[in-house]
Symmetry: D2
Subunit: 308 residues, 4 copies
Amino acid sequence: MTSVAFIGLGHMGAPMAANLVKAGLTVRVFDLVPETIKSLTDLGAIASSSACGAAAGADVVITMLPAGKHVRSLYLGESGGGEGKGLIDVVAKGTLLIDCSTIDAQSAQVVAKFAVEKELEFVDAPVSGGTAGAAAGTLTFICGGSDTGFEQAKEVLSNMGANIFHAGGAGAGQVAKICNNMLLSVLMVGTSESLQMGIDHGLDPKVLSEIMKVSSGGNWTLNKYNPCPDVMESVPSSNGYQGGFMVDLMVKDLGLSQEAALLSNSSTPMGALARSLYVNHARQGNGTRDFSSIFEQFANVQQIKNKG
Amino acid sequence: MTSVAFIGLGHMGAPMAANLVKAGLTVRVFDLVPETIKSLTDLGAIASSSACGAAAGADVVITMLPAGKHVRSLYLGESGGGEGKGLIDVVAKGTLLIDCSTIDAQSAQVVAKFAVEKELEFVDAPVSGGTAGAAAGTLTFICGGSDTGFEQAKEVLSNMGANIFHAGGAGAGQVAKICNNMLLSVLMVGTSESLQMGIDHGLDPKVLSEIMKVSSGGNWTLNKYNPCPDVMESVPSSNGYQGGFMVDLMVKDLGLSQEAALLSNSSTPMGALARSLYVNHARQGNGTRDFSSIFEQFANVQQIKNKG
Amino acid sequence: MTSVAFIGLGHMGAPMAANLVKAGLTVRVFDLVPETIKSLTDLGAIASSSACGAAAGADVVITMLPAGKHVRSLYLGESGGGEGKGLIDVVAKGTLLIDCSTIDAQSAQVVAKFAVEKELEFVDAPVSGGTAGAAAGTLTFICGGSDTGFEQAKEVLSNMGANIFHAGGAGAGQVAKICNNMLLSVLMVGTSESLQMGIDHGLDPKVLSEIMKVSSGGNWTLNKYNPCPDVMESVPSSNGYQGGFMVDLMVKDLGLSQEAALLSNSSTPMGALARSLYVNHARQGNGTRDFSSIFEQFANVQQIKNKG
Amino acid sequence: MTSVAFIGLGHMGAPMAANLVKAGLTVRVFDLVPETIKSLTDLGAIASSSACGAAAGADVVITMLPAGKHVRSLYLGESGGGEGKGLIDVVAKGTLLIDCSTIDAQSAQVVAKFAVEKELEFVDAPVSGGTAGAAAGTLTFICGGSDTGFEQAKEVLSNMGANIFHAGGAGAGQVAKICNNMLLSVLMVGTSESLQMGIDHGLDPKVLSEIMKVSSGGNWTLNKYNPCPDVMESVPSSNGYQGGFMVDLMVKDLGLSQEAALLSNSSTPMGALARSLYVNHARQGNGTRDFSSIFEQFANVQQIKNKG
């Protein structure tokens, strides 16, 4: 039976690890915040007192951390330079390493390089689907790594997700994810301004949404996540923009996308503009609201007040 | 049997009128260019020597013209002021007027206002679907007008199109269409820059497209009209950006959308940016190429040359 | 002695007319709001009961109105079509017509065309300099019209302004003004975001302003109108963004600039973006604040609160 | 007499070092390209066979290198981690270190931190003014560092430049420079699109430039570097956009500015848009032309061809 070490039990990591336990795997867990460990051991996970302790002896190590620097220092040791004392130094040859964090592609590539030198498979596998998808086990994983690594990772990840893609070699999972999320931000802003312009001309946003959804303006936000209040049920826009995917997290992902654009000298006028609009929105105090609240940047304050 | 007057037999109008003839309707046609009339009379349409001649006595008048000024002067008379000598002065009470041109909403509303005063129904019904959809009878019509007018128009339009939407009152069809096409331009530019950034990082655009298509970046351009060469078959990007929907026409529609944004004092940062990028693209000599060629603004000239 | 008719006595028009009276000219005034006339007659102006009454017999007619439609209907008659009953029908041949309103260039050109047919000189002469400049007689006039018309206009305008430019033929004054004001909005936004980025990195905005002012980032806003609070004295940013040039007026001018860009099929990515940012700003309730308050879109709410 | 080590003798470094020699200082020079050393020794400089060789015993070390990674590895040793073998390990306490490279602020701050630990003054002093200013000794230096460091640096730098600013603490020189250059790019794009819109409406760009220069659109590009051909003499736009400041270098500086914006979570919509437009321009084959050639992105190809 596969034994898994799961490190990083935040809002996403905890329910993901829970699904591994439920699937019958042996799961050793660690987090810097002890309370989060308790919820997992209640389900049957085994507590570890350190990340390296959890990883030693595991067949698969899964990490879910905030940023590239945390991933580098955990896998490669404090300085991130591969000089020992990292996870790659304590696991056995052949161990499969899967990092589910959303981080910069460079960090993923550096860790992969050092892992390969130790004869370890490393797969970057950032997720999308939010906490709801994590709980339901319906996440999407976008993976980067070798064919072998991907096939092995797919088996484990299928306990936590519904769609598992292979984007390419090391780091490709991260690149594909931020390409997607950059595009998502553009869809969200573009859909918001189009709907609001229709409203400004007296159109019913429900009718306009129905038309565009099945026309050449059709996109994911119209299908699943309409940003205009009261057009769809059970989406954040119809619930005061609570829940969902926070503006601050979109700002983070757009930061990663712009970092990637700088590295490759790419031109991303729409993505860069979306980032600026989202930063303005966050700076105005909307950082913890759902990212579809960008719609309010285009609405009239008067309209919003009348709603409220 | 319904008798229809069809005025304006250009690339779109001619195949649309042909479908009405094929459906067994009596169709009187007129165009300023006599040659275009011939192709329709060969199919069974009746030639008229003037627009008013075609319209007099018809149950339904359909127009397909280049711009708002043509629509206003045809329906309302030379000065566009409703002082007589326009189509609305020669048709019988109860005649249904359908304008399928893509024009500014204001012009549509002005014509509708004068038509209503003469007890005529006027429906603005701009189309999407291109010349291929016009020939196949699978166009989408987005209509503005009264419920009665819409229901009547729907019956006639169903001979030429597959989807017929009612966006709202007079002018709403035009507003909905330009909202949609503005959003389309944003999808196209956003998808182009995202795909190119992936390519710049070594990803295969086919793989990246497949991933984003089923993720939150999913949109019409990924489904039907991928702008990156050789990702999809039978789309303009895989055919040197020939055919399809011309850059110049997208510039026209984006001009209409910005005109609408000015009238309603709306903010459309993405749509306005898309317009500027498309104008630059057109000015560089790409006006008659397909609008997905905006992808080349992001690609490296070197990459493009190597393709060629 | 020159006799002048001055029509439109708003915040700008009233002090402008007052300077003509002070210069010793015979000034007949009219405005739809009777109260505004009183302040001028107190200074020595002669009240008229209608615009045409003021204009009849005058050597020079000066108008200062809100928008193109007002200018067209005043000069050309209600319908704006030149069919009589406009100012051009009541003044004597050779009368000099000067419109100081900021309006669309097309309207200016239409009025000029009809005026020329009546052997009248028409000069479009939009102003900049604000109410302070109007009171002090230090306005800038940017004129469009014939050389003869310009030379005549210059003599009269010199009683109200310090700089009088000849931009070209009919309408050129309007075009030059909106080109300038579009560029001004870009300078203001660009300077704001640059200063805030410096602040975010710990720089003193005074020091950074001093450096950029004499470097290649130097521009009018750094010299005269720094948007960052407490960098310069006696500017709106150091006075809670009160006074100065209202956001709503900048939105109007940016609307005119985009209207012009649509007519000439020009690409103005920066100007279009500035317009969207200013519309968002206005919609958030900042319409009556000074236009340098756009700086707050980039600042942290927290920083702003700490100031307050 | 002050002894200076000058490391990095490229297009900028060589003429800068030459001015130090001409000023009578003892100058030891080093570059990885031996040919560049020869030109300096002809003037009286002393050749060194390594950077450390040049620096050992010098009172002042000046470096002029391409990017942050070169600066870090030269001062701090290969790994950039301060573990010895860098310039800071071979110079005497009290040596003044001046880095004139344009690099990211973080690198400047890291080097400064390690230098201070060794009781060395480190000043980041990026320059503007181009190769012409380097030759003429009229460069502008924007410095970051302690007051003491700045005062000492000012004395040496005054042999090479006309304006020497103190922007703040370590790294502040770099931040101020990229704030300025980001703003410069916005001025250049905004001025280009405004001038072209005027041209599209029939205005003479010389007349329009004269008007905006003394109005609220006034900025450095109108004063010194008009992007429209044949408006000013002796600027790149009147010389086929040859010479001046290359597009590729502007792309580099805009990359640094966006990197800084990401670090401080700043919103820079105009700067980000300028970067995308410049990257597109570079990718179309204009990388080695002067940065004012962005004007051609807005002009009509037809207009450009007629010129040529």
